[in-house]
């Protein structure tokens, strides 16, 4: 394994990538997005388009800027340059159509709020300042909790549940928003197999309803099972396209460089042949 590959400066490989200018009517279209926390870009001039009604993965090594990309697309952190379109509209106008599930949220778990309260936060924007949380809103939140299998835990204080369950609560909160585009940051990190199955089940149901899902994902072994499209990033966009044609050993090598163990690569290569 050549240790000298520096994925950060590998440019587009010129194959299996999407069009240079993503179509404006994609669920989420990103043009030339650059974000940096200091003098070094965390994300540099990334183009990407996530089509409506598909489940897409964002894949890259640790520190590749995946979370940064999502947060900048959501306007949580400012972008240095670039444009973001959501369903062909500006972020500001389409805000209500986006749901976000943060990476194992770093919140205060002793906060005075119950599981159901947290899910209801997804309804706050629609309620406005003066709106009352009707029985209907409560029922809606409970139904979202039920979809992730946590209806029994509605009245627990938010810290009184396990790690995988917390992740599902945040998914339920995004579901309550009834968003058309769902952005999830490593929804499967640190959760058990049952939770992973529950979450992917919910995501596939969303796809059936025509919703769009974009998830940062780290487990290369499940990419083919879970996702339709993939965006490989490492500060810059390495490749983007349908999983079948884009999830190749070559692209992975370019994305992960020396950081991906040879054995891991050959395993995936075998999977390549198998498909």
């Amino acid at each position: 394994m050549s240790p000298t590959i520096k994925p950060a400066i590998v440019s587009d490989l010129g194959h299996a990538v999407g069009p240079a200018r993503a179509p404006r009517d994609a669920a989420l279209a990103i043009h030339g997005l650059t974000v940096s926390y200091s003098e070094k870009p965390a994300v540099f001039s990334v183009d990407a388009a996530f089509s409506t009604g598909e489940i897409s993965a964002i894949v890259g090594p640790n520190g590749a800027g995946k979370s940064t990309l999502l947060k900048a697309a959501l306007g949580v952190i400012p972008r240095l340059s670039g444009e973001v379109y959501v369903f062909g509209d500006t972020l500001r106008n389409a805000r209500a159509r986006i749901g976000y599930v943060p990476q194992s949220a770093s919140v205060d778990w002793d906060f005075p709020t119950t599981v159901l309260d947290v899910v209801q936060m997804g309804l706050y924007r629609k309620l406005g300042l003066l709106g009352r949380l009707s029985g209907q809103g409560r029922a809606q939140a409970l139904e979202c909790l039920d979809r992730v299998g946590l209806a029994d835990f509605a009245n627990r204080q938010i810290g009184q549940i396990s790690g995988g369950q917390r992740q599902r609560v945040f998914l339920a909160r995004a579901l309550a928003q009834d968003a058309d585009l769902l952005l999830l940051d490593e929804p499967f990190a640190g959760v058990d197999a049952a939770t992973e199955r529950a979450i992917i089940g919910v995501l596939k149901l969303l796809r059936k309803d025509g919703k769009t899902v974009v998830a940062v994902h780290h487990d290369l072994a499940t990419i083919r099972d879970y996702f339709d499209r993939i965006l490989l990033v490492n500060v810059r966009r390495i490749a983007e396209g349908p999983v079948a044609t884009t999830f190749t050993t070559e692209n992975l090598q370019a994305t992960f460089g020396g950081r991906l163990a040879t054995t891991h690569l050959s395993e995936l290569a075998i999977m390549d042949d198998g498909h």
């Binding site: 949580v76 209500a96 976000y100 943060p102 919140v107 005075p112 299998g149 928003q177 058990d192």
Partner: protein, 404 residues
Amino acid sequence: MSLFVEAFFLQAGYNATLVAIGAGVLGFAAGASGTFPFLRKRALISDAVAHATLPGIGLAFILMVTFGGDGRSLLGLIAGSALTAWTGLLLIEWISRRTRLTEDAAIGAILGTFFGAGIVFLTVIQGMSAGRQAGLEGFLLGSTAGMLFQDALLIAVGGSLAVLVTWLMRRPMTIVAFDSDYAMTLGYDVRRIDLLMMGLVLSVTVIGLKLVGLILIVAMLIIPAVAARFWTDRSTKMIWIAGCIGGASGYLGAVLSASAPAMPTGPIIVLVAAGIFVFSLLFAPDRGVLVTLFRHRGFQARVHRRQGLLALAAHHPIREAYTLRLLTREGLVRPDGVPTDAGRAQAAKIARDERRWDVAREIYQDTGLTGRYDGLTPIEDVFTADEIAELDHQLGPPVTARTE
């Protein structure tokens, strides 16, 4: 004592009545408005904001006297104090956002600088001919001597507004305090909501300046919220509980200080609030220290009971006398250690749960879960009914109790 009763029923004279009502309303407003700054972990900034009112008081006085007015005009002093407090707040925010300094360093620097400047102004004013009777030192720790009807009115109007705004903004403030990134994705302007929280702190501070003083006002904002946290797991309920704790402290504190000569009102109010906090700490259900203690005793009993039943399930003798006593008292074993029918049934259920756990630990290799396989936590508390059904499915039909 009779003085206390008189004061409590507002029979101790006009001034004492004004002070008691004013302190009660101020306490309620402070407790309610302090809830979200506390939950957002902004207690220290609140303290800095309060201290940053002092130079404004001094400057406003000097300006008003220079232009030939009465330096003690309450509106002028309030405007001045609000102005420098707001400046201090923006400076702290700017320093921690734009420089490499951390927020606590910024807080320390601004609090010290502004308070120091304020003391310098007060000293200058002492030397002015108009300044000798100004009584501005009263703003440091508060005083009740010169309480006027208009002061009480200011507290009533300003306090009600602060509570109203807190109530209206409870949802945005809850989201921002709990998960500010998520709030941003919903389109909330987090910076503005943070400024609003501090605006509430600032309003309560300036209306409470005269009665409680700027040094202790932060205690009235934060202590009721800290105490209220012991009584509820809902942030909206906390607003009202903190308000009531603050209101009771204000009223009781004012009454107490009126019933003994030369007792400082502000500090007494804070001590009453601290008393309520200690009471909550000790006696609150669920989170209180005593309940925790009893719970520990109960927990110990549960451990012994469970170990006893596990021993029965495994057909082992029960060795510890305490365990045997517990199980005998429940009618699960006879005094000689032989299990009754009820005991055998319980032991069978426990044995099944143990096997469920074995399966669960195999399929959920989750760090959050392994910690919960503690021998005691009922499996129904950890898994949903569906999940348990899944476990049973993997486990196969219940094995009939082993017979000898």
